[in-house]
């Protein structure tokens, strides 16, 4: 999925995660794979409870105790010259992109000149040596890191804007101090320097710098949202995951904030993952879109073709259920039925009970996630054309 101009900062492969509850095992994330490129905005869209947030939490390793991580890799890429990153990767599964080729394996040894990689080829393990200076994209598997190794990646590597921005600010501390806390954990800045940085961040997101010495309850909803965005930007992260960043706001403020976020993202050339149930939001901000249904990715591709000519019937149904602000008047059609129970998901394609195009094979077998049109992937037996 990589081209020569854009390179990935995050690759998620075959992510599977279940929750153990009293009622049974909730199959929340099932075999999800996607990649995020540098400077790109990726949208994850789907109904509530389809596993979007779970994907984000799995990436950041913030899952609750009843979650079971069952497999998959999350490769987080940084430059090979980043000493801390290389050290962290030692002994861990890694992925190295070199001259358009992918090397996957375990990093055995690191010295000044080269990296020694143990790879599996045709069932035999072999060692390859790679020149240190050539490596510009070294991806380490986050799922293999210990909690202490994961800590520097949180917020400095990947930060997050949480679903309820209102509640992700601690009510007993001043907002500025909460940003300073994050900054001073990850960056060697003195208090006045950190304060200055917070002031700049506030300016960037359109907040008055005086507000940094106020408490969260003195903020309005929109202001809190902006503060949370500023907090996500605090350590200059490689990736920001925005989980329903504007759901709690009214439409006008929502639109404004989205547009500003988009501007900031372009300006800082950041990679973002937007998570939303609102396809209008995703359409506005995302370069590429992943559509999730019942824990798996059903369609993935550049946003334009996906919204113009979706392949998966679910994508189409989702789009016709939302009003368009700009387009011509069309009757909204609600999607019949309810999202499936993830404890006992339907057999075969999980969408088949609600799918108007379902055939007999849909009930029996899980469709492969394959490229149906150039760069447009979908998991469907009866793709729309």
């Amino acid at each position: 999925m990589t081209t020569s101009t854009s390179y990935p900062v995050l690759q998620v492969e075959h992510l599977t995660m279940h929750y153990t509850t009293r009622k049974g095992v909730v199959k929340a994330v099932e075999d999800v794979s996607f990649s995020l490129n540098k400077g790109e905005a990726l949208g994850l869209v789907g109904e509530s409870g389809c596993g979007k947030t779970s994907v984000a939490l799995t990436i950041l390793r913030l899952l609750p105790e009843n979650a079971q991580f069952l497999g998959g890799h999350v490769y987080f890429f940084r430059d090979g010259s980043d000493e801390a990153h290389v050290r962290r990767a030692l002994g861990k599964p890694v992925k190295i992109l070199l001259n358009g080729r992918e090397h996957q394996g375990r990093l055995l040894e690191v010295n000044r000149a080269q990296l020694v990689l143990e790879t599996q080829l045709n069932g035999r393990s072999q060692q390859i040596k790679l020149g240190r200076s050539d490596i510009t994209h070294l991806g380490v598997d986050l799922t293999a890191l210990s909690d202490e190794e994961m800590r520097p990646i949180r917020w400095k590597g990947i930060s997050m804007i949480f679903q309820a921005a209102m509640n992700s600010l601690n009510p007993v501390y001043k907002v500025g101090d909460q940003l300073i806390e994050a900054i001073q954990t990850h960056m060697p800045l003195s208090l006045p320097e950190a304060r200055e940085r917070v002031a700049q961040l506030f300016q960037l997101v359109g907040l008055d710098r005086q507000l940094m010495d106020r408490y969260p309850h003195e903020y309005s909803g929109g202001m809190k949202q902006r503060a949370v965005i500023a907090m996500a930007l605090a350590c200059d992260p490689d990736i920001i995951i925005a989980d329903e960043p504007t759901t709690a706001l009214d439409v006008i403020v929502q639109d404004k904030i989205l547009r500003e976020m988009r501007q900031i993202q372009k300006k800082l050339n950041m990679s973002m993952i937007y998570i939303s149930h609102d396809i209008a939001v995703i359409a506005e901000v995302a370069d590429r879109v992943g559509v999730m249904y019942a824990g798996s990715l059903v369609e993935f591709g550049p946003s334009e073709p996906i919204f113009k000519s979706p392949i998966h019937p679910y994508t189409k149904a989702l789009m016709s259920a939302f009003p368009s602000i700009k387009g011509e008047k069309v009757k909204l059609t609600a999607l019949p039925g309810e999202p499936p129970d993830l404890i006992k998901p339907p057999s075969g394609c999980r969408f088949h009970p609600r799918c108007p195009y379902a055939t007999e094979i849909c009930e029996r077998e899980v469709p492969q996630f394959i490229e149906h049109k150039p760069n447009q992937y979908a998991a469907c037996w009866n793709p729309l054309t």
């Binding site: 800590r151 917020w155 990850h186 907090m231």
Partner: protein, 448 residues
Amino acid sequence: MARIWQVLTSGMSKYIIVRLLQIVLVLYLYMTLVFIILEAQPGDITDIYVGNPKITPEAREAIIKQLGLDKPLHERYLNYLKNFVTGHLGCSFKWGNIREVPDPVCREQRPTWDLIKERLPRTVLLFLTYTIISFYIGFFLGKLIAWRRGAIIEYFSTVVGVVLFTVFTPWFALLLVWIFAVNLGIVPIGGFINPDNWRVVERVGTVSRDMGVSLSNVVFNYILMWLGGLTLVWGVIYLVSQRFPYAWQRRVARWGSVCIGLLAMGAFFGGAWPGSADQAVIASETRFNFFLWQLEFPAGTIPLFPLALDFVQHMILPILTLTLISFAGTMLLMRNTMLETMREDYVMAAKAKGLPDQVVRDKHAARNALLPVVTSLIFAIAFSVDGGVFTETIFSWPGMGKLLLESAIEQDYPVAIGTLVFTGIFALVAHLIADILYAFLDPRIRYD
């Protein structure tokens, strides 16, 4: 003038003033109720003389007249109120005067206030220490078991805590006395000092009895003042350390504690009590004796350290008992509120920020779980002035609880009422302090 008025009527000050007025009203009602309830008991203090051949009915009448018990109830009530407003808590029926110049109101009797002055520091010492220790343990354990839910320590401390919490206090106290004092003999059985150690105090000279308490008590209070002062300094160091970056907090708190410890050692080893009779002179002179380099005791002075050690030794068993019995309350309260705050999004956000686990636990989760615990702490501190009647009786700790029990049994009404009213004042003020403290702990709370 207008500015002062503005400050007084704005937000917090206005709230405090209104609350103070309410406190006065509630206190009046409480006092009246206490007065009526105690007066409603049948008989009076002279009942113990009935059947005593040495006291004739005439003599008994004379005592009744002397104590003013022949006057009608409303007159005595008004008299009590009048004394109360002038800061006088009445005169004990039982205790005789020990001052050189008797109290003008009480004359031959001992003023209630003098009794409280004598008993209160002892009770406060014991119960404040226990309250702080018990709350600290409860807070710490509660935080820990909530954070590591399902760990063995949770089951262990919950079971042990709840069993001890529900156990019958006097029985458990006696059990500990039997084990540690009777069988092992490592701590005294009861009492709050060993009189043999304190004879040295009385030998030095006489204190002006106008203070209403003996010299031993004055020395005792003086030591307490020092302990309290050092604890206060420690508290300030701890609070200041909270302003430092996390990596420094522990270091500052630790070194602060070491310094305080050294200062305390120095004060009590080097410190001495000059044999002067005048309290003002005592205070100004000994302060300079309390530095490390003045290790020689001036002539006619008392080394304070053995004395301090004496009552600390007597405190061990009661504090152990009380702490074991009550820490579970705080622990479970803390655990429950902590479990709630741990579900909050800002705790998840703190984790996502890559903060160390300890910071997330202490600064974000525990800090927000603190409010209900602080409430119960404030009330526990407020009620540390009335002491535990059970505890003080079992450990023969001559404090407020024992005073209340004795005076109620022997129908020494003024002392019983005085003790209760005094406790009431503390409880009411503690309420106010708790409310004010809320505003500092939780910035969302505003009183305007």
